[in-house]
């Protein structure tokens, strides 16, 4: 009989599986993707110390360890419903119904779009799609691309694309609209890019070796383009240009751009069409918590964590007995945090099932989450610590009821 079922074979899910299995639990992991590793698979970036974080290799290592510990990993399986039944969790999947005492949801995140007219054309894809196509499937998204949306994630992926020999013509902002009010505003975008280095507004004046050092960008060859742009790793970031429309009949043929004021208003007479055969839409990430919602979890709206987050504590327990969460579903952070959280969840489950012989590994795992978070060089959002505090408060309030 399976002790714990884990939905999601990404860094959090696999780490949890390993931690539980090492305590002697019988573990099953399900993932909708055709191979395990989750979004770790597409990751490939240079750390501040100059080493390369190779997501494919990390995923392979985690997966192998888990399998060696006896974890059963099944890919290509979709979970469409979960429900409590007599103290157990029923998990409804495309390969049958499973019943387990402990259920971990490690389903990660989905991308938030920054739409512009024409974004449904073939050849327009999310920035994550381009990352997976390039680094996992090893197919170029196209010959000449434009990235719409400038943020920490899209800049990192633009570099990955260039590294793989994919030509990124330029990065621009989306045209301002009620659904792109922050992403289309140059001042806000710049602040958001530089907030990671804890600099105050008017950042252009403070740009210098300190910023480069903090961001680990010494080799980025950062220099300024005329008209408010930056060239980073050879890729032009046009912070004063907006994509007004993606054009093409059967598929992407180009992007109509215009210069914009610091507030994001298009300047008349500056429109032109740049050719492209692929376009990436780059907003942010948001926890993918539909199964937690279906299970009846309580949530908190916390923009610093990416949106609606299922209430949980530092032991990765939700307010529902036997239901746990780990990874980006708990709030958008890094793969390293996901791994640390997964380990906590795995040990936490073992403890709750009365199978954790020594409480010390669990305590250490929880400490490790805090350590990893502190050491993170780049955060997607600087308010994460505060968001987590609020989340803990709301969890305790919900439990007290």
């Amino acid at each position: 009989m399976t002790d714990v079922l884990i939905v999601g074979a990404g860094p959090a899910g696999l780490s949890a599986a390993l931690a539980s299995a090492e305590q002697g639990l019988s573990v099953r992991v399900l993932d909708e993707f055709y191979r395990p590793g989750g979004r770790l698979l597409g990751q490939l970036h240079e750390e501040p110390d100059g080493k390369w974080w190779n997501g494919l290799a990390e995923a392979a290592t985690l997966c192998e360890k888990a399998q060696q510990a006896g974890v059963d990993i099944r890919c290509g399986v979709s979970v469409y419903n979960v429900a409590q039944n007599d103290g157990m969790w029923q998990v409804f999947t495309t390969e049958g119904v499973f019943e387990v005492p402990a259920l971990l949801l490690a389903t990660g995140a989905s991308e938030t779009a920054v739409p512009v007219p024409g974004w449904t054309l073939p050849g327009v894809m999310s920035i994550g799609a381009a990352q997976v196509m390039t680094n996992v499937q090893r197919v170029r998204p196209g010959e000449r691309g434009v990235i719409i949306g400038i943020n920490v994630l899209s800049v990192a992926i633009a570099r990955e694309l260039k590294l793989a020999g994919v030509h990124v013509d330029r990065m621009v902002l989306p045209a301002l609209s009620p659904v792109t009010s922050a992403a289309g505003n140059p001042v806000q975008v710049m602040e958001s890019l530089l907030r990671v280095a804890h600099l105050a507004p008017s950042p252009l004046l403070r740009l210098g070796s300190r910023l480069l050092q903090t961001l680990g960008l010494q080799k980025a060859g950062l220099h300024f383009l005329p008209g408010g742009g930056i060239r980073m790793w050879g890729i032009p970031l046009h912070l004063r240009t907006a994509a007004l429309e993606i054009v093409g009949t059967e598929q992407v043929e180009g992007v109509r751009i215009a210069r914009i004021t610091p507030e994001g208003i298009p300047v008349p007479g500056t429109e032109k069409i740049v050719p492209a055969d692929f376009v990436c839409i780059a907003g942010g990430l948001s926890p993918l918590a539909e199964l937690a919602a279906v299970a009846g979890c309580s949530f908190a709206w916390l923009p610093s964590l990416g949106g609606h987050v299922p209430l949980h504590n530092e032991r990765m327990q939700t307010t529902l007995p036997g239901l746990y969460v780990a990874g980006n579903i708990t709030g958008i952070e890094s793969a390293k945090v996901a791994i640390a959280q997964g380990t906590v969840a795995g040990l936490s489950i073992a403890a709750d099932l009365g199978r954790l012989r020594d409480p010390e590994p669990l305590r250490q795992a929880m400490e490790q989450v805090r350590l990893v978070r502190e050491q993170a060089a780049i955060q997607f959002h600087p308010e994460i610590a505060r968001g987590r505090e609020r989340l803990q408060q709301m969890y305790e309030q919900a439990k007290a009821v």
């Binding site: 979709s78 979970v79 469409y80 419903n81 409804f92 495309t94 989905s110 938030t112 779009a113 739409p115 512009v116 007219p117 974004w119 449904t120 045209a175 301002l176 609209s177 009620p178 659904v179 009010s181 429309e245 208003i265 298009p266 907003g283 948001s286 993918l288 918590a289 539909e290 199964l291 919602a293 279906v294 309580s298 949530f299 908190a300 709206w301 949106g307 609606h308 709301m394």
Partner: protein
């Protein structure tokens, strides 16, 4: 300045203009917006446009509540009737 024709819900091809007009006419919640326009009710289960609908409402002054506003109904993936227990 921005295009009202721009698609927000890709699955049901609900435009920004349609959403804004519906909201202006009824001053409604995210859930009611979904029921009136079909945005969020397509094949992807609202996964792609959910955050856009919330952003639109935020721009109009409606801060999302802590509860998930666009409720998820199982099955959260399209499944065949045969899987749900029907005959082949």
């Amino acid at each position: 300045m921005f295009t009202q024709d721009m698609v927000i819900c890709r699955c049901e091809e609900v435009s920004l203009g349609k959403l804004m007009q519906t909201f202006a006419a009824h001053g409604c919640s995210a859930r009611e917006l979904k029921l009136r326009t079909r945005a969020g009710m397509g094949t992807c289960g609202g996964r792609t446009c959910r955050s856009l609908i919330l952003a639109l409402l935020q721009e109009s002054g409606q801060e999302p509540s802590h509860a998930v506003p666009l409720g998820y109904q199982p099955p959260v993936r399209p499944v065949s009737f045969s899987l749900l227990g029907g005959r082949e």
